[in-house]
């Protein structure tokens, strides 16, 4: 029983950006969880990547002289008689080919110059326009593995302040930046610095080597996560979403219908735009993770307990003793007052109650 909500061909169409909006949503959702479909998608993308290995470069002959002659003929003849124009075009084209074969060297130089001009035009025009180039670049990026690296270093240093300054200097020299920094200075222990550094991947080895010199290495670890598949998948989904947005925009522009339909299309455009922005942010984050090493550094200061051998001065000790005596006296007086205030009323009552029986008992004892 087929448990997939989309057909394999639909999955392919989704990757090509050719699936209708509603089905594209289903495909995107399913692709996130289905390993089988992820595998198929990877296969399809792999085939496209392999096909891109076959690149051809444009030949040296530009065709410009032949076409220039044809254009000249076209401009010279009245356009209302196309059949005669054709003959002239062919004749001019033939003459152009003959001229090309027998071209003297000065003409070749001129042709090369024109070739360069046209090549410049091609470069200028094609860069922003050609979808092929975009996808090819994307594939080329995807062909080399994309690794997001993380490293951890634990160091102990004798000179904490110097090590910290050096760490900032290393970061600056290697064009890195500080993600997070915490410094703790407990009273009976050495200071510690916990920092998360982001260093360009190209500077990774040099930066780590320099940081290791800041102290004694207590622990070191490095990990790498390959995110190529994630990136390629993100690219494909982004491309699909952009195509969807474009198609929806065209639908909105060209079609008129019920207000509810128009609102539904606008809502879809808004949703797709949100998805595009989210995916672009993900792509940027992923790229940053690949381009920058995340280095977690823990720098601990060697703790040396301080022993105070010098005695305090006599004057200071007298002053301290006087203060202690005065404080003791005040504390005593305050304690008596507090005692009287606390227990005085109680004592008075008991004294009043016991006074007469006690006096009577005392008198009897004296008489006897």
């Amino acid at each position: 029983m087929n448990m997939h909500p989309i057909e394999q061909e639909e999955l392919m169409a989704y990757l090509d950006g050719e699936l209708p909006v509603d089905r594209a949503g289903v495909a995107a959702g399913h692709l996130k969880h289905c390993r089988e479909c992820q595998s198929l998608a990877a296969d399809l993308q792999g085939v496209s990547r392999r096909l891109m290995e076959w690149q051809v470069s444009v030949g040296q002959a530009s065709g410009l002289p032949v076409l220039a002659a044809a254009l000249k003929e076209r401009g010279a003849k009245p356009r209302k008689r196309p059949r005669i124009v054709w003959r002239w075009v062919w004749a001019a084209a033939g003459a152009g080919v003959v001229a090309l074969l027998a071209v003297p060297s000065f003409q070749l130089a001129s042709r090369r110059q024109k070739m360069h001009e046209i090549a410049d035009q091609i470069d200028a025009v094609q860069a922003p326009r050609r979808k092929v180039a975009e996808q090819l670049t994307s594939y080329m990026v995807a062909q080399s593995p994309m690794i997001a690296r993380t490293a951890e270093l634990t160091l102990t240093t004798n000179d904490f302040d110097k090590a910290r300054a050096a760490l900032e200097d290393i970061l600056k020299r290697h064009s890195g930046y500080l993600g997070q920094l915490n410094v703790n200075a407990p009273p009976s222990a050495g200071r510690t610095l916990d920092a998360t550094l982001r260093i360009p991947a190209t500077q990774r080895d040099a930066a780590i080597a320099e940081i290791k010199k800041l102290g004694r290495v207590e622990a070191e670890s490095q990990t790498g996560e390959e995110v190529t598949a994630k990136y390629v998948d993100l690219e494909a989904r982004l491309s699909n979403a952009r195509n969807t947005e474009q198609r929806l925009t065209e639908v909105l522009r060209e079609r008129t219908g019920k207000l509810a339909d128009v609102l539904a299309v606008e809502e879809s455009i808004s949703r797709v735009r949100g998805e595009i922005e989210q995916m672009e942010a993900e792509k940027k984050t992923l790229t940053t993770r690949v381009e920058f090493l995340t280095l977690v550094v823990r720098l601990t200061e060697d703790y040396h307990a301080q022993l105070h051998m010098a005695p305090d001065s006599i004057l200071g000790r007298c002053r301290n003793a006087a203060i202690v005596g005065y404080k003791s006296m005040v504390d005593g007086v305050v304690a008596v007052i507090l005692f009287l205030l606390s227990y005085g009323p109680n004592l008075l009552i008991w004294a009043a109650v016991l006074f007469f029986p006690a006096r009577l008992a005392w008198r009897k004892l004296r008489r006897s």
Partner: protein, 176 residues
């Protein structure tokens, strides 16, 4: 940036610059189209020129009903068919250029493509190399879009299987 269709209309009105712009945009893609389908680089270049000559000749009759891109590839496909017919009539074993002169990675791709059914191969190449949409391919080949999709899927799966034996195995095959 001016669209291809606007440039074509300008050219129809007599603007040589518009044609040069179109030429700059499509020279390389059209050359690639022919180069991947013909053995001779020289013929690929000739046919690329002839495609533009055909555009020049047919300017007065051009109507912006389809994309210029589709229009150009339509002419290119017809030129290619004529060239193949001519090759069959004239010489059964045409002179073959050394393609880029070496056993590069593309050799395995070319060999794998050769093993595909011609109709499926054409659809795959139009999609992958010319970057045409399904509907553009359908228009060019005059077949339904669903047919394009199913043939494209079959072609990709078949190509995957043909490509799976990696270069080492193919090389052994090449020696025999």
């Amino acid at each position: 940036m001016i669209s291809d269709e606007a440039l074509m209309l300008e050219f129809q009105g007599g603007s040589r610059e518009a044609f040069e712009e179109l030429f700059a945009r499509y020279r390389e893609p059209l050359f690639g189209f022919f180069r991947r389908r013909l053995e001779s680089q020289e013929r690929a270049d000739d046919l690329m020129q002839e495609t533009f000559l055909a555009v020049i000749r047919a300017t007065s009759r051009y109507q912006p009903r389809a994309l210029v891109r589709t229009y150009l590839y339509g002419i290119a496909l017809k030129s290619l068919a004529a060239e193949r017919r001519r090759e069959r009539r004239s010489d059964p074993s045409p002179q073959v250029d050394a393609v880029d002169g070496a056993l590069d990675n593309s050799l395995w791709v070319r060999r794998a493509l050769e093993k595909l059914d011609p109709s499926e191969r054409e659809i795959l190449m139009l999609r992958e190399y010319e970057q045409l949409s399904y509907s553009e391919v359908a228009d060019l080949l005059r077949i339904p879009v669903n047919t394009v999709r199913s043939r494209l899927f079959r072609a990709r799966m078949a190509l995957k299987n043909h490509l799976e034996p990696q270069p080492s195995r193919d090389r052994e095959g090449a020696k025999t």
